[in-house]
C-alpha cells in the first residue's frame, strides 16, 4: 500500500476531490499548509511598511491507496490540479507498512 501526498492550490481542491470521487476513490484527508518554492510569496503594506510574506497558502491532500491504484490516482490529481502556472504543487508517493480502520479494526487493503 502507498500514501500519495499532494500539495495543490487551494482553489483546486474541489476539482481534485470531485475527480477522485468520480473515479471511485473512497477517501482523502486534507489540511491547510503554507508553501515556499519557486512561486514567490507576496508583499503586504501596512502604514507604509512592507511585510514580505514568503509562504503562500496551499492544501495538502493525502490519499491511501493500494499499489495498483497509485498511478491512476497520481494522474487524476495531476490532471485536476494543473493550471500550468508556477506553484501548481507536487505529488509524492511513499510506502505504507500497514493500515488499520479504527471503527472495525480491519487491516490492510480492506481498511483503505
Amino acid at each position: 500500500m502507498k500514501l500519495i501526498t499532494a500539495i495543490v492550490k487551494p482553489f483546486k481542491v474541489d476539482d481534485v476531490k470531485d475527480a477522485l470521487r468520480s473515479a471511485g476513490i473512497a477517501g482523502v484527508t486534507a489540511s491547510e499548509v503554507r508553501g515556499f518554492g519557486r512561486q514567490g510569496g507576496h508583499t503586504e503594506t501596512y502604514r507604509g511598511s512592507e511585510y514580505a510574506i514568503d509562504f503562500v497558502p496551499k492544501v495538502k491532500l493525502e490519499v491511501l491507496a493500494s499499489d495498483s491504484d497509485v498511478q491512476r490516482i497520481v494522474d487524476l490529481i495531476t490532471g485536476a490540479a494543473q493550471t500550468g502556472k508556477i506553484g501548481d504543487g507536487k505529488i509524492w508517493v511513499t510506502s505504507v507498512d500497514s493500515v488499520v480502520r479504527i471503527r472495525t479494526g480491519e487491516t490492510g487493503e480492506a481498511a483503505i
Binding site: E44, T45, Y46, R47, G48, S49, Y51
Partner: protein
C-alpha cells in the same frame, strides 16, 4: 440646566466611555494574536482604575477652584460639595471629564505594545495620571496656559500631544521589540475599533460644548468632515505611493483626522475642518514612517498619529480660528483676519506640554525600570504576553 443639555452631556460621556474598548480593538487588532489580550487589558485597566482616582482627587486637583493657575486642591475630594441631585449638571460634567482622564493614558498603550510588563503598566497609569495629565489639563483649561490665550477645545494639547509625547518617552526607556513588527492579526477587529472610535468621537468633541447648542452642532460637523478628509487623504497618498488603498490606511487616517480636529472642533467653521483633515491625513501618513529613521520603536504609531496629529491640529487653530462665527472670546486665526498671536500661544502651550510630559514620563519610566523593571522576559516576548502576563489565550477552537 435644560434637560436637552444634560441629555447631551450624558450621552456624550457614554460615547467617550465606549471609545475605550474601541481603542482597545483598534490597537488589539493591529497587534499579534498572542499579544492581543495584553493590549486589551492595558486599555480596559485604564477604565477600571482611573474613574476611581478621578472622583477621589483627580477632578478636584485638575479643576477646583477653577480660577487658580497651576493646580487645583482637595476641596472636591470624593465629589464633596457636589451635592446636586436636583440639577445634575456638575455631576454629569465630572463623569464626562472622567472618561477623558481614563482614555488618555490608554492611548499610550499602543506604543509600548508587545513588551511592557503589565505590573509596570499597572503602576505607570496612576502615576502618569497625576504627574502628567492632571497638571497639563489644569494649565490648559483655566490655568496659566489657557489664561494667556491658547485654546484647546476637546483636548488636542491636553490629551493627544500629551499622551503622544509620553509614548515617545516611554518607548525610549523601554527599548525596541526583539520580535520586530508584524502585520495586524485581525483587520476586522481594527475596523470594529475604528467604527466605535469615530462614533464615540462625536461625543468627545461635540460633547465638549457641554450643551446641545450651535457650537456643539459645528463641532459635530467638523468631526464628521475632518475624519473623512483625513481618511481620504491617507488613502490617496497610499494609493499613489504604495499602489494600494488600504483599510489600515483608511482607519489610520480617520483617527488622525479625529485627533487633529479635537482641539479645533469648537473654533473652526466652513471648509476649515476639511483642510485640517487633509493636512493631518497627509502629514500623519508620512509621520508614522519617521520611527524607522529615528530608531524608536513606537509599535502602533501613537507618536505618528496622536502626537503629530494633535500638534498639527492645535497649531492649525492659529490659522483657522473663527471667533466671529462662534461669537467667541478667543483670538482670530491668521486666515480669518488675526495676527500671529494665537499661533504663538498655541505653540507655547504645546511646547510646555511637550517638555513637561516628556520629562515626567521619562523619569517615571526610568524609576520603574530601575525598581520593578518594565520589560517582560525575552521568552515571554517571543511566546506572547497573553499567556505569560494574563494566563489567557485569545482564541481557542
Amino acid at each position: 440646566m435644560e434637560s436637552g443639555n444634560l441629555a447631551w452631556i450624558l450621552i456624550s460621556a457614554a460615547l467617550v466611555l465606549f471609545m475605550i474598548p474601541g481603542l482597545a480593538f483598534f490597537y488589539g487588532g493591529m497587534d499579534r494574536g498572542r499579544n492581543v489580550l495584553n493590549m486589551l487589558m492595558m486599555n480596559f485597566y485604564c477604565a477600571l482604575i482611573v474613574p476611581i482616582l478621578w472622583v477621589l482627587v483627580g477632578y478636584s486637583l485638575s479643576q477646583v477652584p477653577f480660577e487658580n493657575d497651576f493646580l487645583g486642591n482637595f476641596d472636591a475630594f470624593m465629589l464633596k460639595n457636589i451635592t446636586e441631585a436636583g440639577d445634575g449638571s456638575t455631576l454629569a460634567t465630572v463623569a464626562f471629564l472622567g472618561m477623558f482622564a481614563a482614555i488618555t493614558p490608554a492611548l499610550i498603550s499602543g506604543a509600548v505594545a508587545d513588551r511592557m510588563k503589565f505590573s509596570a503598566w499597572a503602576i505607570f497609569v496612576p502615576f502618569w495620571l497625576f504627574l502628567a495629565y492632571v497638571p497639563i489639563f489644569k494649565w490648559v483649561y483655566g490655568g496659566w496656559l489657557g489664561q494667556r490665550g491658547s485654546i484647546d477645545f476637546a483636548g488636542g494639547t491636553a490629551i493627544h500631544v500629551n499622551a503622544g509625547i509620553a509614548a515617545l518617552a516611554a518607548v525610549l526607556v523601554l527599548g525596541k521589540r526583539k520580535t520586530g513588527a508584524a502585520p495586524p492579526h485581525s483587520m476586522p477587529l481594527v475596523m470594529i475599533g475604528t467604527g466605535i472610535l469615530w462614533f464615540g468621537w462625536f461625543g468627545f468633541n461635540a460633547g465638549s460644548a457641554l450643551a446641545a447648542n450651535g457650537q456643539a452642532a459645528q463641532a459635530f460637523m467638523n468631526t464628521f468632515l475632518a475624519a473623512a478628509a483625513a481618511g481620504l487623504a491617507w488613502v490617496l497618498v497610499e494609493w499613489l505611493r504604495d499602489g494600494h488603498p488600504t483599510n489600515l490606511g483608511a482607519a489610520s487616517g480617520i483617527v488622525a483626522g479625529l485627533v487633529a480636529i479635537t482641539p479645533a472642533a469648537g473654533y473652526v467653521s466652513g471648509a476649515s475642518p476639511i483642510f485640517i483633515g487633509l493636512i493631518a491625513g497627509v502629514v500623519c501618513c508620512y509621520a508614522v514612517k519617521l520611527k524607522n529613521k529615528a530608531g524608536y520603536d513606537d509599535a502602533l504609531d501613537v507618536v505618528g498619529v496622536h502626537f503629530v496629529g494633535g500638534l498639527v491640529g492645535s497649531l492649525l487653530i492659529g490659522f483657522f480660528a473663527d471667533p466671529d462665527f462662534f461669537k467667541g472670546s478667543f483670538e482670530k486665526g491668521l486666515f480669518f483676519g488675526g495676527d500671529a498671536g494665537l499661533l504663538l500661544e498655541q505653540a507655547l502651550a504645546n511646547g510646555v506640554a511637550i517638555v513637561w510630559s516628556f520629562v515626567v514620563t521619562l523619569i517615571l519610566m526610568l524609576v520603574l525600570k530601575n525598581t520593578i523593571g518594565v520589560r517582560v522576559s525575552d521568552e515571554t516576548e517571543f511566546n506572547g504576553l497573553d499567556l505569560a502576563e494574563h494566563g489567557e489565550t485569545a482564541y481557542h477552537s
